[in-house]
């Protein structure tokens, strides 16, 4: 609210409520790592075949198919911001469809097969990119 004139307390309190309400409707941001991912539990580690790799901000996403019995399940791992990973040796060519990769990270608190990536390792043992300094 701009150029607001003095008002009575009751009206002011009502305005504060309106402002607080409106801020919840308007104020969204980059999703919270702490709220979305379970940092207290053990890291989850899965190995599978890359089905898709997106390298765009706000997060890259690696989608892999992980064998499970006679079938497979889909896991997704969101990476740190690609603009940050670019300085650590990542680029859009770091992974390709068909690559076998092991992903380790923090699982989503809602239990879905979605994680925040800590590290990615190719089948030949090479790590993708460099660790954070």
């Amino acid at each position: 609210m701009r150029n607001r004139k003095p008002v009575r307390h009751v009206v002011g309190a009502a305005m504060a409520l309106v402002l607080a309400w409106s801020s919840t409707q308007l104020a969204q941001a980059h999703h919270s790592f702490a709220v979305f991912f379970d940092t207290d539990a053990q890291l989850v580690k899965v190995t599978g075949v890359v089905r898709d790799f997106q390298f765009r901000n706000p997060h890259g996403v690696i989608t892999i198919e992980v064998p499970q019995g006679q079938t497979h399940v889909t896991w997704r791992a969101e990476t740190n911001s690609p603009s940050i990973l670019h300085r650590r040796g990542w680029n859009s060519d770091s992974l390709h469809v068909g690559d076998t990769v092991t992903l380790e990270g923090w699982r989503a608190r809602d239990g879905s097969r979605y994680m925040r990536l800590k590290s990615a390792q190719l089948a030949d043992g090479r790590m993708v990119g460099q660790p954070a300094p």
Partner: protein, 254 residues
Amino acid sequence: MSARAFAAVALLGLIASSAPVCAAPATDAVATHPDFSGFWNLDMKVPRDPGLMALVPPNTAFMDDTGPAEFPAGNYGGLILTPAAQAAAKKWNPRTQLTPENACRPPTIVYALQGPFPIEIFQSDKFIVMKLEYYDLVRLIFLDGRKPEADYPHSPTGFSSGHWEGSTLVVTTDHLEAGTITNNGLDHTENMKVTERFRLSEDGKVLMATQEYEDPAVIKNRGVRFIAWRRQSGQHVYPYECDPGFAGNYQDAK
């Protein structure tokens, strides 16, 4: 002159020639003050500067979440919420952050500056341009005493005025749009007032800042973060170019 340097000079010239508000006489020349120009990367190992922290007013909570760290749900880093803010935070649904509509909505400088992303500063005697890599935000900090127009819009970067107190740059910012404070349900209103103090380390290699928050509609006390960046030569911030399609990956997860 490189193309990038030329573009930066052209940007500064354009800003100077298209001042949107009433300009006051210029103050000190850049040569008499510390030069913050350059590329700065967040450095969380820098200890809090006692001199800067001593300038923080009483009744101010120190919020220790600078960088990748974030407060979990229900933790607001010592900020005391008003009943309205508490009610709003309780209703907050984090899943709404991961929708195509919201995934690329930029935060305001209240949350953006402390993020683990570099900044780049271009400095003149009349204003400072601060480019944040995070969400491609660009701040203008006017040093000539100008005031915003009556209908100046609210935005993620707001309207920033700065002045020098010795070797410390003091910046006040208002005209912010509503945005998150802690990224876990606590949002500030359009009346948020931010006060920042920027100072170089003695060797000039580290830029340190305190960022204070005042918004009585949502927090009864005040908050402050300490942020430090290390100078790195030969680098520039990258384009962020947020892609809202990212959110679909989470929506598809089972």
